[in-house]
């Protein structure tokens, strides 16, 4: 299978007949978890990720007393792949959560100052929990997109003194940017987007690029044990900027 996929790519084709810069069919659903303040599921081809956003009241970080807190966590549930094991998150889950976190945080997509309740004492903590339902490749882009969609779907609950009124809301979570993560893979001298599970095993390296609405880059992560030269990086970033615009339209 791997050899076949590799041969196809050298001939300019992909195993599922996609173009090199074509993503798999994408569906985004929002709000299917009623108990969560925000939720979304993303299906990217057969890859499926569900993200729930919960808001709790807690203390701010000492170096950002008037800002809410964003925490991203990822769970590679064993149901999603025979390679996933139960137990504490492994390095792939940790890396995925941290790269998604970086994209959301560095793009300043949430106005964290608006999540302050009492400066220095009480702020909203937004927990973004990523659950992988089916691992058919490119988990990172699917997880980042589902996280953004869930944040766009999230509402801030009303507060009654110390109590959080979970059924009543005072407004939407203030999301001001829509950072889109695009992973570009390199095979030989070819570049492709949205690698499937079969393709991931033949990619020498991948570069995940998080692009903000204004085309600025807000996070990068090279993955895989291959090598890239500077020209590769430039090409990959260009592809990511182009694709990010197309996908951003679909998340609104």
């Amino acid at each position: 299978m791997e050899k076949y996929a590799l041969e196809l790519i050298e001939k300019g084709k992909r195993i599922d007949e996609r173009k090199f810069e074509e993503i798999r069919p994408l569906t985004i659903k929002k709000g299917m978890i009623e108990k969560a303040e925000g939720s979304a599921s993303v299906k990217l081809g057969e890859t499926e990720v569900i993200v729930g956003v919960k808001l709790n009241v807690g203390e701010p970080y000492p170096d950002a007393k008037d800002e809410g807190v964003l925490i991203v966590n990822a769970e590679f549930t064993p149901l999603a792949s025979p390679d996933f094991e139960s137990g504490p998150p492994g390095e792939d889950a940790v890396e995925l959560a941290r790269v998604v976190d970086r994209g959301l945080r560095e793009s300043k997509c949430i106005e964290l100052k608006k999540l302050c309740i009492v400066p220095g004492e009480k702020v909203w903590i937004a927990f973004v929990d990523i659950h992988i339902i089916n691992h058919q490749g490119n988990l990172l882009d699917a997880a980042a997109l589902a996280s953004l969609a869930a944040l766009l779907n999230a509402k801030i609950p009303k507060l009654d003194g110390e109590n959080v009124l979970r059924k009543e809301f005072e407004g939407q979570l203030p999301v001001v940017f829509k950072p889109i993560n695009i992973t570009v893979g390199k095979v030989g001298e070819k570049f492709l987007v949205d690698p499937s599970f079969e393709e991931e095993s033949i990619l020498s390296s991948k570069l995940s690029v998080c692009v903000r609405d204004d085309e600025n880059i807000c996070a990068l992560q090279k993955q895989g044990n291959g090598e890239l030269n500077i020209e590769d990086i430039e090409k990959m970033v260009d592809i990511a900027i182009l694709k990010s615009k197309e996908i951003r339209k679909l998340v609104e």
Partner: protein, 238 residues
């Protein structure tokens, strides 16, 4: 990362007096731990990292062995006393991620296929953190691998670059790291200029991004010379 109103660049110079493209004083020493097969110490200003290499050695448990190649394992760890507020010992999410990317940064340099069923274990300890700890650690690890006599295509050389007050700079110290608009870690195989680690966070335009990568490449060339010098020093001592 948060931007402060404090000016980090005054009259074209950084707060510690450096020019934007100037590295901090660098110290490198090889073979500092005699129980390890290879070891090295690297200081970038106030960031101190030591690395040691055990192996190639037999890998146990057996199910972890690969019949056609050796494997590389890497652990990046920060000492509890390395930062201002004590860090609780043991791995946290940050060090788990850095251990992974450091391993992937070094793997392409090593002829792992020469060591089926074996492991090469790399341990990076950050003794004091003042910014750019992962790249300092990777520089030390690469020296330790060379010191251990592990066959390699090239050394791995790493450095950090970033953007602060709109200026692009190299080798961020801790304060700059905390106040930067963007920071990027780059590792490469310097002879063929192949990039093996690339991470960035913060907001930059595409043009700035490419300038940063080029800036990192130039700095890596300087660091590479120092690494070669450190390895030669070792034999002078014998």
């Amino acid at each position: 990362m948060s931007e402060t109103d404090e000016k980090m660049i005054v009259d074209g110079k950084r707060l510690d007096g450096r020019l934007p493209n100037q590295l901090r004083p660098i110290k490198m020493e090889v073979k500092i731990i005699n129980r390890a097969n290879g070891s090295a110490l690297v200081n970038f200003g106030g960031t101190y990292a030591i690395a040691s290499v055990h192996g190639p050695r037999a890998l146990f448990p057996r199910w972890m062995q690969e019949s056609d190649t050796g494997i590389l394992r890497c652990r990046y760890n920060m000492a509890p006393f390395s930062v201002e507020d004590r860090k609780s010992p043991g791995p946290d999410r940050r060090s788990v991620e850095i251990s992974k990317v450091a391993r992937l940064a070094m793997e392409p340099a090593i002829f792992l296929e020469d060591f089926p069923k074996a492991t090469i274990d790399v341990f990076i300890e950050v003794l004091q953190a003042d910014g750019s700890t992962r790249v300092t650690g990777i520089n030390a690890a690469s020296l330790a691998l060379a010191d251990a006599g592990v066959p390699m295509k090239d050394l791995v050389t790493a450095c950090s670059v970033g953007k602060i007050n709109g200026t692009l700079i190299v080798d961020l110290n801790g304060k700059e790291d905390n106040n930067s608009e963007a920071d990027m870690a780059v590792a490469m195989l310097p002879t063929k200029k192949k990039i093996t680690l690339l991470q960035m966070d913060g907001v930059v335009s595409k043009e700035e991004l490419m300038t940063l990568v080029n800036l990192a490449e130039k700095s890596c060339e300087k660091i590479y010379e120092l690494q070669k010098q450190a390895l030669k020093e070792k034999y002078k001592r014998i």
